[in-house]
C-alpha cells in the first residue's frame, strides 16, 4: 500500500480539537510502515484558521472545503464529502479520531465506500508484509489483532494510544476543495455545551473524577475544588452522570471518554470494569473510597480508605501547604 493517507480534522465550529493530532501521528505511523503521504481535510464554514493550524503539523497539504453545508457538523454531508475526496484523490487510507465525531461519520463512510473500518485502534504493525491493526475489545480487557481487506482502509484512532503530533516548523499548502453534497433533510438545531475554563478531559495532565459516592449534585463542587487546586479536568462515573450530577461529556469509561493522564484521582468510584476501561492506562491512579474491598484499589497506585467528605478537604489543605514554585 503506497497510496496516500487522509486525516479528517475534528473541530467544533472553528475550535480545533487536539484529538486530530493523535490521528495525524497514527497516519504518520501508517505512512512509515506502508508508504504514502499524509494529507488533512478540513470541512467547515469560515474556519480557515483551523486549516492553518493543521498545516503546521507536518502534513503534505490541507484540503479545505468552505461551505454553508459544513457550518455545523452533520454526519450525512461529512461522510459524503470525505467519500468524494477519496474518489478524487485515490486515498488508500482515511483516519479520524475515535471521538463522537469520528465514530459518527466514519462507519457511514465505510458504508458509502464499501470499505473496511477498524474502530478505536491502539496500534499498527507490519507482519509478513501484511498490515496488522490492534484494537481493544470487551471493555479493554482483550486486545485483538485484526487484518483488513478492501480499499481504502478506514481507521478511528484512540487518542491515548498515539502521541499528539507536534508542529513541524513548516507550513503545508492549503488547497480549496469543493465537494457537491447536501444534508438530505438533516438539520442542526442546537447544543447545550458544558462551558468550562478547565482543560479538556482527554488532554488534561490530571483528572479528578467523582462517582456515586459523591451522593448529590451539589457535592460535586468538592470534586471540582480539588480539580481546580490541581489544574485538573473533572470526570465522572456513569452512575454520577445517570443521576444528573455531572454532564454526559464527563463520563469516563468503556462507553464514555478514554483518558490516560499523568494522575487520575477517583473519588467515591467503585471501579467497575466499564469505568476501568476508560482510565486504567493513566500513569498514576489514586482512589479514595470508604470501602476497603472496592475493586478500584486493585488498580490504584495509592489508595486511601476514607470518607471522601472528610478526606478531600484534607487533601486540598495538604496541597495548599506545598510551597508553589
Amino acid at each position: 500500500m503506497t497510496a496516500d493517507i487522509l486525516v479528517v480534522v475534528e473541530h467544533l465550529e472553528g475550535a480545533f480539537r487536539t484529538s486530530t493530532r493523535s490521528a495525524i501521528t497514527a497516519a504518520h505511523v501508517l505512512s512509515s510502515l506502508a508508504g504514502g503521504e499524509v494529507d488533512a481535510l478540513v470541512l467547515g464554514e469560515g474556519v480557515s484558521a483551523v486549516a492553518e493550524t493543521v498545516a503546521s503539523f507536518g502534513v503534505r497539504r490541507v484540503l479545505h472545503a468552505d461551505a454553508p453545508v459544513f457550518a455545523r457538523y452533520l454526519a450525512v454531508p461529512y461522510a459524503a464529502a470525505v467519500a468524494q475526496a477519496v474518489r478524487e484523490n485515490g486515498y488508500g487510507a482515511v483516519m479520524a479520531p475515535a471521538t463522537t465525531f469520528g465514530k459518527d461519520f466514519m462507519p457511514r463512510l465505510s458504508g458509502l465506500l464499501d470499505a473496511p473500518l477498524a474502530s478505536d485502534i491502539v496500534g499498527l504493525a507490519i507482519d509478513g508484509g501484511e498490515l496488522r491493526v490492534r484494537r481493544p475489545m470487551f471493555a479493554g480487557n482483550v486486545i485483538a489483532t485484526v487484518s483488513m481487506s478492501g480499499v481504502p482502509l478506514l481507521f478511528t484512532v484512540r487518542q491515548t494510544a498515539f502521541d499528539a503530533a507536534l508542529p513541524s516548523g513548516t507550513r503545508a499548502p492549503v488547497i480549496p476543495f469543493a465537494p457537491v453534497v447536501d444534508a438530505g433533510g438533516t438539520r442542526f438545531i442546537g447544543r447545550t455545551e458544558t462551558k468550562s475554563s478547565r482543560p479538556e478531559l482527554t488532554d488534561a495532565r490530571v483528572v479528578v473524577s467523582g462517582g456515586r459516592g459523591v451522593k448529590a449534585a451539589e457535592n460535586f463542587s468538592l470534586v471540582e475544588r480539588l480539580a481546580d487546586r490541581l489544574g485538573a479536568a473533572v470526570g465522572a462515573s456513569r452512575a454520577a452522570v445517570d443521576a444528573g450530577w455531572a454532564p454526559n461529556d464527563w463520563q469516563v469509561g468503556q462507553t464514555g471518554k478514554v483518558v490516560a493522564p499523568e494522575l487520575y484521582i477517583a473519588l467515591g468510584i467503585s471501579g467497575a470494569i466499564q469505568h476501568l476501561a476508560g482510565m486504567k492506562d493513566s500513569k498514576v491512579i489514586v482512589a479514595v473510597n470508604k470501602d476497603p474491598e472496592a475493586p478500584i484499589f486493585q488498580v490504584a497506585d495509592y489508595g486511601l480508605v476514607a470518607d471522601l467528605f472528610k478526606a478531600v478537604p484534607e487533601i486540598i489543605a495538604e496541597l495548599e501547604a506545598i510551597p508553589t514554585r
Binding site: 452533520l74 463522537t100 465525531f101 465514530k103 466514519m106 462507519p107 457511514r108 465505510s110 458504508g111 470499505a115 473496511p116 473500518l117 474502530s119 481493544p136 475489545m137 470487551f138 480487557n141 482483550v142 486486545i143 485483538a144 489483532t145 485484526v146 487484518s147 483488513m148 481487506s149 433533510g185 438533516t186 442542526f188 438545531i189 442546537g190 455545551e193 458544558t194 456513569r238 454532564p247 454526559n248 461529556d249 468503556q254 462507553t255 471518554k257 466499564q274 498514576v284 491512579i285 489514586v286 476497603p292 484499589f297 486493585q298 488498580v299 490504584a300 497506585d301 495509592y302 489508595g303 486511601l304 480508605v305 476514607a306 478526606a311 484534607e314 489543605a317 495538604e318 506545598i322 508553589t324
Partner: protein, 252 residues
Amino acid sequence: MKVLVAIKPVPNPDERVKVSADGHSVVLENVKMVVNPFCEIAVEEALRIRDGLGGGEVVVVTVGSPSADPQLRTALAMGADRGILVSAEGPLDGFAVARLLRRVVDDEAPDLVLLGKQAVDDDNNQVGQILAALLGWPQATFVSRIEFVDGGARIRVDRETDAGLETIGLPLPAVVTTDLRLNEPRYASLPGILKARKKEVRVVDAAAAGVDLAPKVRVLAFEAAKGRKGGRIVADAAELVRLLRDEAKVLG
C-alpha cells in the same frame, strides 16, 4: 409507526472474559449471554414509541447463530411483537451484519430502525451507521432523547457528544443508535415471558440474502490486556500528598 430493532447477544458485561491459551478465541463457557445493554435500551424505546403513539409494531431482529433465540425471547417478553433471526455461520464483521440487516429493512419497510450505539463485546460502534449508508437514510447516533415532530414525519433527537448534548432534526425513515440516558429498560414480567414463548420468530437463512458476507475486518488473534497491579494503601491525606509529590512526582 413500525420500528425495527436490531439486537445482539453479548457475554454478561460484568464478567471478565478470558482469552484461550492459543489466543484464537475468547472463552465464553460459563459466561451468561444477555441482550447487549444498548440494544435493551433500543427495545425499550421502540415499545414506548409504539405505546405512546397508540399503535404500530415493534419487530426485533438478530443476525448470527440460532443460539440467540433466548435473547430474542427476552425482547419479546419485554413486549416486542415478533422476531426475526437471520441465521449465519462463522464470524461476521459489522459490515456483513449491516448488509443482512439492510435486506430485512427492505422486506419490512420500517419507519425507524433502532440499534445500540455499540455492542459491548466487540466495542465496534459501526453497524447502525453502515446500515444507514447502505440504505441511503439519515442517521442519528448516541441518542438520549427522541421526539416526533411534523406529524410524525420527522424526529428531533438529543445526541450525547464529547462536547455536550446536541440536538438535530431528521426526516423518517431514519437509523438511530441509542445511548445510556435514553431510558431505563423495563424487566420482562412473568406474563410477558409466558406470552413471548408463543410469539412468532421467523428464521431466515443468511445465505438466501445473496449478499457478500466475507469479513472486511478479520480478527486474527486475541490477547489479554496488560493488567495493573494495585499499589499501596496510604494512612491519610498527608501521606498521600507527600507520596504524590516525592515518590510519584506528579504534583506541579
